[in-house]
Symmetry: C2
Subunit: 444 residues, 2 copies
């Protein structure tokens, strides 16, 4: 379900490669992926998508039909198309593990490969890393806001595409969500899948009561009843009435779901109705335009809600729908390079990021430096691919999720703020500053 | 490249279907897709994505592996899984043609099918229609702002996924863009593909001049030179210097591209440099965080820019990254239905939308009414599928694009405004209001 075509790229990759092959420019190039600045109201980001990048690099090739189509465009000569037919990724990859918290100017991925390969993969690498990093970073904010509640991704329908919905489920699970409604994410990634009924199920029946009973009989292990189709509190009373009937049939109602109106007010009322009816063990699950800001409000209102379905606003990262990220050439043929366009200049050369924490394990500062310079702290970039092959199997998604939760725990309180978090100190080492000056002098 | 798995859906579709099959609830259901309200600063929307919806409906089935995986979850009984194995879409589809301008409360798609089929397809239909409609609606705003300029989709890298980048290229082309940088969109949809070089191409060479010459020799038919890697005006002067050299080799420079800084200021200066150098025919192409608001500004500044690469902000619809849309049950077993949840109630029954225009062809008002009621105006929903088969081939993408441009021309000036457009009059017919009252009385 993850699109594999080598044509999922920008045309300029091909026109540039035609130039590189013609001049035989195939020495080693180093590109790095990083974020230039954080969106407003983001204190940190969480790296995600590495697995899909490595899958992409391992399977990269042009099919015969794709080459045929390229030939028909008339833009490419036959010698170049032969080179493309043989194109594989044979380089090295260094990366921060998925789930790592990171900050602007810090490379989270470094590609070292012959120039045409390292260049060609730019478009899809950005496409894959950008999206999952965007979503994991957004989802982590909900996780930090209500760490003791079940959070479920409900966003497939308004995610920007099918592959997208699948990867949003993965990224949010990585960041600490408990599961997703997207069935394919269960099959592909082993993520727990949640879901019961829509309003249409209630409406298709002659009455709400009949709909509840039918659903429970058909899905006795998964009885979560949607109670707001007509009147939320009446729906809750209906649940109290049918609970003993289902109980006699050894069917337990797990929870009710509320999907409209003032969620805190309804949850308080519904909790009272359920409790008075003896249904203390029946949980309340809420959905409807929820994001971390709404969660914060509901928490302040002490809304008795046990779990949340979080959809559109997370799967589209609605308050910050993109990151200002880039994949830039930092070195070619052994010489460090630097882009100096206004407002878009980069730090040159191969880099490493070191992290320093306080004795409690809370983040203190990061240092970005040239990769071979000695530096105190924990290096964050690790080699994951050598000569086109994985150096070792990547961690399972659940292991990455555990690591991500540890990473979130290492965030000092100010960085967790949903609004106006402070800047985290990312220092550029003297060695890297000097390298930048050397590169600048050469350009002049 | 468009993901096909039947598991790209929400779990509740399956749990509901298990209920429907168990009760043998397979009478005809009618669902409609519509948008509840416009995002801020949107005067209209443009329908898009129907082709992909119809492709999805025609190929819908569960593979053996998918059924096997569902069985292993333990949530579904074997009788139900057998039903799923035979699930195909056998219903009817009525829809507004792609490219149609539409407004809130107007169904743009109606599905009429046995309840389990009509229900099951909800998640992916929303997923497909929502995204392309979102992007076509956003792209149309740029088209209306600079109708006399070339607009090219540059958004693949920060689109939310691979399939997404491909569909964003399609939706923006439908809305009037001239092409895309995404190669796969050329192959899949026949959309013109544009692109030349990135900054890395310049940086990998010893000098900008060398990079320009190498590129021109490798791509003599497609010479657009990126001039802002080090200094935009110096880059323009470089272009003036090499133009005669390339001219002797019968290579023409088509354009230069600027990708940073104050685009209007640079464009004015670069235009002067090119003109003084005799390069009147060399165009200026600009990119870098462009959207319709920036285009409006550049137009006011009379920036001499001939074409624009429009990326992230369009492919993510950054100022409105989602639509408040829904796919709702409107009728089951011959009886009109209505959801009444707070803030989410819907108009019941099968509906048709009629449009009235003034003598110049400009939109006057739309009327939403029950589908068989007589009404003056042009009906917008047309039957496109009968019993699971297309009633006739859909129009080619270029024909839909022509139709979309006509639709945009039918918009009165106020609706085209980028900020605070007025509400367009969408009237609910007396017949439909009466039907809603009848349905409400029944529920009570």
């Amino acid at each position: 379900m993850i699109a594999r075509s080598a044509l999922l790229t920008d045309l300029y990759q091909l026109t540039m490669l035609q130039g590189y092959y013609r001049q035989n420019m195939q020495e080693t190039a180093v590109f790095e992926f990083f974020v230039r600045r954080l969106p407003e109201d983001r204190g940190f980001l969480m790296a995600a998508g590495l697995q899909q990048v490595l899958d992409y690099l391992q399977q990269l090739h042009f099919s015969r039909e794709e080459l045929q189509w390229l030939a028909e465009t008339g833009q490419f000569d036959s010698g170049f198309l032969e080179r493309l037919a043989g194109l594989r990724f044979t380089g090295d990859v260094h990366a921060m593990p998925e789930g790592t918290v990171f900050f602007p100017d810090e490379p989270i991925l470094r590609i070292t490969a012959p120039l045409p390969e390292a260049q060609f993969v730019e478009s899809r690498i950005i496409n894959l890393l950008h999206f999952q990093t965007l979503i994991a970073s957004k989802a982590a904010r909900s996780v930090l806001t209500v760490p003791d509640r079940l959070l479920v991704d409900f966003g497939f329908r308004r995610a920007h595409g099918g592959e997208t919905g699948l990867l949003a489920a993965r990224a949010s699970y990585l960041a600490g969500f408990g599961g997703t409604a997207t069935v394919a994410a269960g099959q592909q990634f082993g993520i727990p899948v949640y879901g019961t009924m829509a309003h249409s199920f209630i409406q298709a029946h002659a009455s709400e009561r009949e709909a509840f009973l039918h659903f429970a009989h058909a899905n006795p292990g998964n009885v979560v009843l949607l109670i707001d189709t007509y009147d939320t509190e009446a729906g809750a009373r209906q649940v109290v009435e049918i609970a003993p009937i289902l109980g006699e049939q050894h069917i337990t109602i797990k929870a009710v779901r509320i999907d409209s109106g003032d969620l805190a007010e309804h949850a308080h009322r519904v909790r009272r109705i359920l409790d008075r009816g003896g249904l203390h063990q029946v949980g309340i699950f809420a959905s409807s335009s929820i994001d971390e800001y709404v969660l914060q409000q509901l928490r302040q209102q002490r809304a008795p809600i046990d779990g949340f379905g979080i959809g559109t606003r997370m799967d589209t990262s609605a308050d910050a729908p993109y990151l200002d990220c880039a994949y830039k050439l930092q070195e070619y043929a052994g010489i460090a390079r630097r882009k100096r366009s206004e407002g878009k200049s980069t730090w040159p050369g191969r880099k490493q990021v070191y992290r320093r924490c306080d004795p409690d394990g809370l983040l203190l500062e990061d240092i970005v430096t040239v990769h071979e310079a000695p530096c105190a702290g924990q290096p964050l970039l690790q080699q994951v691919m050598h000569a086109g092959r994985l150096t070792s199997p990547l961690p399972a998604l659940d292991a990455s999720r555990d690591y991500a939760l540890q990473q979130l725990q290492s965030l000092p309180e100010p960085l967790r703020r949903l609004q106006k978090p402070p800047d985290y100190p990312v220092r550029i080492s003297p060695e890297l500053q000097e390298l930048a000056q050397v590169v600048d002098r050469k350009i002049q």
